[in-house]
Structure formats: C-alpha cells, structure tokens
C-alpha cells in the first residue's frame, strides 16, 4: 500500500521517517512580482531518493537550486543535517541537466574538478576520479573529451563528478532529460543500484511520472501558480528481487493516480 499524505505542504507528513537529511521550511521565492515558490515545506529522508515531480513552471528546479545554495530563498530556510544552508557547501553535490562539463578538459579532469576546487592534491583526486569513472561504467574513457562522448556518457561524467566529492546529498536536476529513451532506462536502473550502494540522500527533479515512480522512495508532487507541494507519495514497491517494477500493480496504480491529479494543470 502506498501511504498518500495530503499534506499540502503545511503539516508534517503523517508518518515521517525518523532520520531527515534535508529539511525545507516555509521557503518562498519571488522574482520581482512573480512568485516562483510559496511557503513550501518538505522533508527529505536520509539515504533515500526523493523526486520533485510536476509540470513545467512548478518551480521544482528553483527549489533544487535553493537547496543547493545556488540561489537564495526570499524567505524561509533550508537545513542540511540541521545546519542552515547559506550557499553551496561540500555536503551537497549537483548534477546538471545539460551536464555542465568543461569542454576543454578530459573526462578524468572533469570528474576530478570538484575535488580540484576543494584543493585535493592531484594524484589523490585523480585516483578517486578514476574509481568513480569505473563505477559509472566509463573505464577506458579517462582521456577522452566531452565532445567525443554521447549524451548518456556525458551525463555519466557529471554523475561521477558529483559522486567523487563524497557529498551526503546528491541534487539531480532532470539529469536524464537530454539523453535518449534506452539510455534513460539504463540510467534509472543504475540509479536504484546507486541509492542502494552509496547510502546518500538523492533529490531528483523530473517531469516524467514513470521515472519518478520507478526510482523514488518518496515523491513530492509540486503544482504551479503559485508553486506548492500538492502531495507526498511514498510508494512501497518492492525493488528487491528480480521482479519487473514496471509490471508491478502498485507502480501502475501510482502512475495513474499521479496523472489524474496532474492532468488538469497541463495545458
């Protein structure tokens, strides 16, 4: 059974998981007269993957960038491990929709770039980068340049870069929207494995309902104008074993249910 909690972003979730890694409290964001986010509150349980799902313009990327400390909130606060976010920090790593790779640098340097900025010595950071390059399945491409790679491979570089800085929280901004459908499916499977092995908190922005239900422990549905949390869904799909998630009855039910609540907001 899924526990659907119609919190509307105000009350705490009905059955909050004990350990909260990231907590967003009453965050609003205004661009001039336009209100991008209104009094939004949301908790992200540690070691789990939470999706921010919603139609375009619902402020999900804005919320992710506020959590990253890349843009300041107009009001409200974000806490990571109980410490307020005042800017980018080593406890969070970001994966960009357009990959954001340095086109003049090799895969190895790109993956090591986060560590380079943190002042890690060259040999150590290249060792660590090489390990994560293997982990994302790019072994042998260390000396290639981004323009020599396919879109899917480029995003693996972006993922390896975010993993190599060993942040507790991974922020992913529609990471698979610029790669083709088959690559995307492979990525989604890899994501599940990563959540399992890396024991990090993943916050994942997507506009794909299927993708969100497939990979998420918790899904926050955001609605636009003004942006707010419509509901928080915790699918209890069994991900262990060899069963195909996409044929799971619960998976199909939740996908339908989310579509029913979103369809009126899609023009």
């Amino acid at each position: 059974m899924s526990q659907i909690d119609r919190s509307l972003g105000r009350a705490a979730p009905a059955a909050p998981p004990a350990d909260i890694a990231v907590s967003v409290r009453g965050v609003s964001k205004n661009y001039g007269d336009v209100q991008a986010l209104e009094n939004l509150s949301l908790d992200f349980p540690r070691g789990q993957l939470t999706s921010l799902l919603g139609p375009s313009g619902c402020g999900k990327t804005t919320l992710l960038k506020i959590i990253a400390g890349l843009i300041p909130a107009s009001s409200g606060s974000v806490e990571v491990d109980g410490r307020p976010v005042e800017g980018p920090g080593p406890d969070r790593a970001f994966v960009f929709q357009d990959f954001a790779l340095l086109p003049w640098a090799s895969v190895l340097r790109n993956v090591a770039f986060g560590l380079e900025l943190r002042g890690v010595a060259r040999s150590e950071r290249e060792d660590r980068a090489a390990r994560y390059i293997r982990e994302v399945g790019l072994a042998g491409f260390e000396q290639s340049f981004p323009h020599e790679l396919s879109g899917g491979m480029r995003q693996r570089v972006g993922l390896a870069r975010a993993l190599s800085v060993d942040a507790d929280v991974l922020l992913l901004d529609e990471p698979f929207s610029a790669v083709d459908e088959q690559t995307r499916r492979k990525f989604q499977e890899d994501m599940l494995a990563l959540v399992e092995t890396e024991r990090k908190t993943f916050i994942f922005v997507t506009h794909s309902i299927e993708e969100a239900v497939y990979v998420s422990d918790q899904i926050a549905i955001l609605l636009p104008r003004p942006s707010r949390v419509h509901e928080v869904i915790r699918p209890s799909i069994s991900r262990g074993g060899g069963g195909n998630i996409r044929r799971d009855a619960e998976y199909l039910d939740i996908v339908d249910e989310i579509w029913a609540s979103l369809r009126s907001y899609v023009e």
Binding site: R92, A93, P103, L117
Partner: protein, 218 residues
C-alpha cells in the same frame, strides 16, 4: 617600381646588415612590449566587463569610440603627454591593439554557458577559481581571435609610432629609403614586415583552430 627579382636580391643582402638587424630589434621590442601590455590589460578588462553590468555600461562606449577612432590623429597628443621616446611608441602600439582584445574577451564571457558558472559555484569555486578555471578558458576562442586582430593592428601602431614619434627601427629605414629613392630596399623592408605580420597572424589562427573543437560545444 623596381622588378621583383631586384627586390628579392636586395632583401637577401639587406637582412644580414647590422642596420637592418638593429631596426628589427628596436621594432620587435616596441611591438612586443605594446602587445604584451595590451593583452595583460585587455583580457582582464574584457572579462570583467563581460561579468559586471556596471563596468560594462561605464566602459563600453569608450571602447567602441577608441576602436573606431582614427588613432593616428591621436599620436601628436600622445607625444605631448608622454614625450618622443620609446615609451610613446609602446603606448601607441598598445592603443592600436587593446580595444579589439577587450571587446572580444567581453563577447567570449557574454557567451559563456551559465551552467558552467553554476557548476563551479556548486563545487565551491572562489571568484578567483572561477576566473582562471572557467571564464578564461570558456572565452579563449574569442580571446584568441581578439589577440590575432589586435596583433595585426599593433603592427600598424608600431610602424606609425616609428614614423611619427621618433624615427627609429623600421620607421627609420622606411624614411631613409623613401627619401633617397632606394626603392628596392624600401620594398624589401616592406616585404619583410608583411611576412612577419602574416606569420604571426597565421600562428594565432593555428592556435584558434586547435581549440575550435570546444568552441562549438560550450
């Protein structure tokens, strides 16, 4: 007009003479000093203009005015301000080269992919990190293009300086050969000058092509 064969023979004899080598050294010194000053000031100013709206609005009209102004007409003013020596020739060279370098560096920064900047911030880059690891490299294709055109303009600047300010270097040779109707020598020096300018420009164009692979995919 002397025939080309005569010019070539004169050229081969000329390039080993002490007076030619001396002129080459003097001109090269003024040229490189002027270019280096233009690059060292022009690139950071251009990058800062690309990043700061205020600085851009303050400086852009002036850069555009000086880019299109007939700088030769300014040389007498420079002589009044800075005297008749090598220093004024170097300043003239810099003034010919710097504006296009500034404008191109600025354009390079304006075209930068915003998410590269966000990426570096998210991984904790300081403003200095961002400048040297992101902005300079991202704008490099435009910067090199600007330096190439700036260098070509600097050749103009240094010769005009050496003709108008103090008659030294290649300027002195041109003056000497022209006033004595030594046309073969005159053309020989001109060909050497053209060849040097062309070689420099081609070298910079080669560097531009080497980084073209990422200019398209920024």
């Amino acid at each position: 007009m002397p025939p080309l064969s005569e010019v070539v023979v004169t050229l081969l004899g000329l390039v080993t003479t002490p007076s030619f080598l001396d002129a080459l050294a003097t001109t090269a010194y003024a040229f490189w000093a002027g270019v280096i000053v233009a690059v060292v000031i022009g690139i950071p100013v251009g990058i800062l203009m690309g990043r700061s709206r205020l600085l851009d609005e303050l400086l852009l009209p002036w850069v555009n005015i000086f880019l299109s102004a007939p700088l030769t007409a300014l040389v007498p003013v420079l002589m009044v301000l800075f005297g008749f020596g090598m220093r004024t020739i170097i300043i003239t060279t810099t003034l010919f080269a710097i504006w296009i370098i500034i404008l191109n560096a600025r354009a390079g920064v304006k075209n930068i992919n915003r998410s590269l900047v966000e990426m570096s911030r998210s991984f904790g880059a300081t403003p200095l990190d961002a400048f040297f690891k992101i902005y300079v490299w991202a704008a490099l294709p435009e910067i090199l293009g600007g330096v190439r055109i700036g260098v070509i303009r600097a050749v103009k600047g240094v010769i005009i300086g050496q003709l108008l300010i103090s008659i030294v270097g290649f300027g002195a040779l041109f003056e000497l050969y022209a006033s004595n109707f030594l046309m073969a020598e005159f053309w020989a020096v001109l060909i050497v000058l053209f060849a040097l300018a062309f070689t420099l420009s081609e070298f910079l164009a080669y560097l531009e092509r080497k980084i073209a692979y990422y200019a398209a995919s920024r």
